[in-house]
C-alpha cells in the first residue's frame, strides 16, 4: 500500500520551489499504475520519493505500511528500501561485478544463505535470458543486457513494491512484452508496481490505471 497525502518535495529543505506539489494518491497493495507525463514533469522525482531516496518536505507519506518522514531513522529507511525493487533509467549496476554478483546483491544485503542465493539468481537470470552470461562483468554487457540485469536485480528478492523508470527503453519488443507480463503477474500476486514510461504501445498491451504528472502535480488519475 502506498498513500500520499498533500505531499510536497523541495530540493532545498526550506523555501525552495517545490519539485512535487500537493500530491495525494493511494495505490493498494498489489495495485499496478502507469506513471505518465512529459519529460521533466516530476516522474523520476516521484519514484525517488517512493524509493525513499528523498523525503517529503510537507504532507504525509506511507509506503508498505510504514510512515516515512524526515524524522524516520536512517536504518528504518534502509530496511524499507530493501523491500523495494527499483529499476533506474541508467541501470546503476556495479561495473566491476559479474552479472550474477550484481543480481545477488539485494539477497546478500538481506543475509540470505549462499545456496539459496545461488538458486534464486540462477532462476531469475535464466528467465531474463542471461543464463549464459552469469560470469560476464557488467561493464561488458550491451545496453539491453544491462537493463535485463537491472530488472533481475530489482525483482530477485521478491519486493513488496517495484518501481521502474522507463524499464523497456533498451529492450527489444519480445523482451519488453515478457517483462510487462512479469510485472502484471507480480502485481496479481500482491506486489505493488509503478512503471514510468512514454511508451504508448506498452500501455495498450497492459491496460492498467494511470497517474498523469505535470509540473510536479498529479493532474489526472485514469482507471
Amino acid at each position: 500500500m502506498i498513500r500520499l497525502q498533500n505531499v510536497s518535495w523541495r530540493r532545498e529543505r526550506k523555501n525552495g520551489t517545490p519539485v512535487l506539489s500537493n500530491l495525494t494518491l493511494t495505490v493498494p497493495q498489489g495495485g499496478f499504475r502507469w506513471l505518465l507525463g512529459p519529460s521533466g514533469a516530476g516522474k523520476t522525482s516521484l519514484l525517488s520519493l517512493l524509493h525513499v531516496e528523498s523525503l517529503p518536505s510537507d504532507g504525509s507519506l506511507e509506503i508498505l505500511n510504514k510512515t516515512v518522514s524526515v524524522d524516520t531513522p536512517r536504518a528504518t529507511l534502509m530496511r524499507l528500501r530493501q523491500r523495494i525493487g527499483m529499476v533506474h533509467q541508467n541501470y546503476r549496476l556495479m561495473p566491476g561485478l559479474s552479472v550474477a554478483d550484481n543480481v545477488a546483491l539485494p539477497l546478500r544485503l538481506q543475509h540470505r544463505p549462499e545456496d539459496e542465493i545461488t538458486d534464486e539468481v540462477q532462476a531469475i537470470l535464466k528467465w531474463v535470458g542471461l543464463g549464459e552470461r552469469v560470469n560476464v562483468q557488467a561493464s561488458r554487457l550491451s545496453g539491453g543486457e544491462q537493463q535485463r540485469t537491472a530488472i533481475a536485480r530489482a525483482i530477485v528478492h521478491r519486493p513488496g513494491l517495484i518501481l521502474a523508470d522507463e524499464p523497456t527503453n533498451a529492450l527489444e519488443e519480445p523482451q519488453a512484452h515478457k517483462l510487462l507480463d512479469l510485472f502484471g503477474e507480480l502485481s496479481s500476486m500482491g506486489t505493488t508496481v509503478i512503471v514510468a514510461t512514454h511508451n504508448e504501445a506498452l500501455i495498450r498491451r497492459l491496460p492498467r490505471p494511470s497517474l498523469y504528472v505535470e509540473r510536479g502535480r498529479l493532474v489526472r488519475e485514469d482507471d
Binding site: R81, H88, L97, D101, N102, L105, R108, L109, V134
Partner: protein, 327 residues
C-alpha cells in the same frame, strides 16, 4: 550447478579502495613508537614506585675506624653482676659492632646489613681499582631498610654520634622525593606521547578512510539504493582498517620487542637492591620473562588490539558522518 560468483561480493573492493601497504606500515611504525613509549612509561612508573616505597625507607650509615674498640661507657657502681658482664662485653666491642647493637633498637622488621670488605671493595672498584689492597682507611657501611610506613627516629644520628663519634647517617628521603617528581614528570611525558601516537594513528586512518570513501562513492550510492545500511557500509570499511591496524600493530610490537629486551637486560642490574645481591652482572636471557614487568607484558599484548580498535572506531565514525550526506 554452482554459479561462478566472483568473490567480490558487494563491489566495494576494499583491498583496492584501502590499499594495505601504506596503512599497514604507518600503523606498524606508530605501534613501534607506542611500544617504546609504553616501556618508558612502565620504567618510570616502576622507578617512581620503587623510590616512593623502597628508597625512602633506606638509610646508609658510615662508621669511621670501624675496627677500633668502641668507647666504653662509665662504670655504674650499683650494677648487678650480669649487667657488669654485659658492660665488659660492650667494652670489647668494635665501633661497627656497637653501631649495629644500637640499631637493634629500631622498629621490628628493620633489616640491617653490614657490607663485607669484599662487597665494599667491589663498590669502590670504579673509583679506587682493586680496593681490597688499598692502604686507605675505609669506613664500615651499614645499610638499614626500615619497614614500610615507618620512619627513622629523628635523633638517630645524634644518638649514634653520642655513643660512637664520627658516625654519619645518610637518609634517602630527600633524594627520593626529588627523584619521584622526576619519575612522575617522565610518566606524564610518556602518557602524552602515547596519546599523541594514538591521535596520529587515528588521523592516518581517517585520511585513508576518506580517500577510500571518495574512490567508492558511486558504488556506495548503488549499495545505499539497494538498502545497505550505514552499519553495513561502516562495518565493511572498519573491518578492513581494523584488520590492517591489527596486523600493523602486531608487526610494530614484534619489531619493538628486540630493543626493549636489550634495554631491560641492560637495566636489570639497577633494579636489584644491594641488600639482595651485590653482583652487578647481566641476567640470563632465560630469566627475562621474570625481569620484564607484568604490566609491560600486558601492555605490549594489548597494543595491537588497541591499534585495531583505534582503526576500527575511527573508520566507523568517519564513514557514518560521510554517509549522513548521502540520500
Amino acid at each position: 550447478m554452482v554459479l561462478p560468483f566472483s568473490g567480490r561480493k558487494d563491489g566495494l573492493s576494499l583491498s583496492e579502495a584501502l590499499p594495505d601497504r601504506s596503512l599497514f606500515i604507518l600503523v606498524a611504525m606508530m605501534s613501534f613508537l607506542a611500544a617504546l613509549t609504553l616501556t618508558g612509561a612502565t620504567g618510570a612508573r616502576a622507578l617512581s614506585a620503587r623510590w616512593a616505597g623502597g628508597a625512602a625507607q633506606l638509610l646508609t650509615i658510615q662508621v669511621s675506624a670501624p675496627d677500633q674498640p668502641a668507647p666504653s661507657t662509665a662504670p655504674n657502681p650499683s650494677a648487678t653482676s650480669t649487667a657488669k658482664q654485659k658492660s665488659d662485653a660492650a667494652a670489647h666491642q668494635t665501633r661497627a659492632d656497637a653501631v649495629l647493637a644500637l640499631l637493634a633498637s629500631l622498629p621490628d622488621g628493620t633489616q640491617t646489613h653490614k657490607l663485607s670488605k669484599e662487597e665494599l671493595a667491589h663498590l669502590l672498584t670504579p673509583w679506587l681499582g682493586d680496593a681490597s689492597n688499598s692502604a686507605l682507611p675505609l669506613p664500615a657501611v651499614i645499610e638499614v631498610r626500615l619497614p614500610q610506613g615507618t620512619e627513622p627516629p629523628p635523633d638517630l644520628e645524634q644518638t649514634l654520634n653520642a655513643q660512637i663519634p664520627g658516625t654519619v647517617v645518610e637518609h634517602n628521603a630527600e633524594w627520593s622525593t626529588r627523584l619521584r617528581a622526576l619519575a612522575d614528570s617522565l610518566l606524564a611525558c610518556a602518557a602524552l606521547a602515547l596519546v599523541t601516537v594514538g591521535g596520529i594513528a587515528a588521523m592516518i586512518t581517517g585520511l585513508a578512510t576518506r580517500t577510500g570513501l571518495s574512490t567508492r562513492r558511486d558504488i556506495i550510492e548503488i549499495l545505499h539504493g539497494l538498502g545497505a545500511t550505514d552499519s553495513y557500509i561502516a562495518g565493511r570499511f572498519a573491518g578492513r582498517t581494523g584488520g590492517l591496524a591489527l596486523g600493523g600493530g602486531i608487526l610494530g610490537t614484534l619489531l619493538a620487542i628486540a630493543p626493549l629486551v636489550l634495554l631491560f637486560r641492560m637495566a636489570a642490574p639497577f633494579a636489584v637492591s644491594s641488600l639482595q645481591s651485590t653482583a652487578i652482572t647481566m641476567p640470563d636471557w632465560r630469566t627475562l620473562p621474570d625481569i620484564l614487568p607484568k604490566d609491560l607484558l600486558i601492555g605490549l599484548v594489548a597494543l595491537p588490539v588497541v591499534a585495531a580498535f583505534i582503526g576500527w572506531a575511527t573508520t566507523q565514525i568517519m564513514v557514518r558522518i560521510w554517509l549522513r550526506r548521502m540520500p
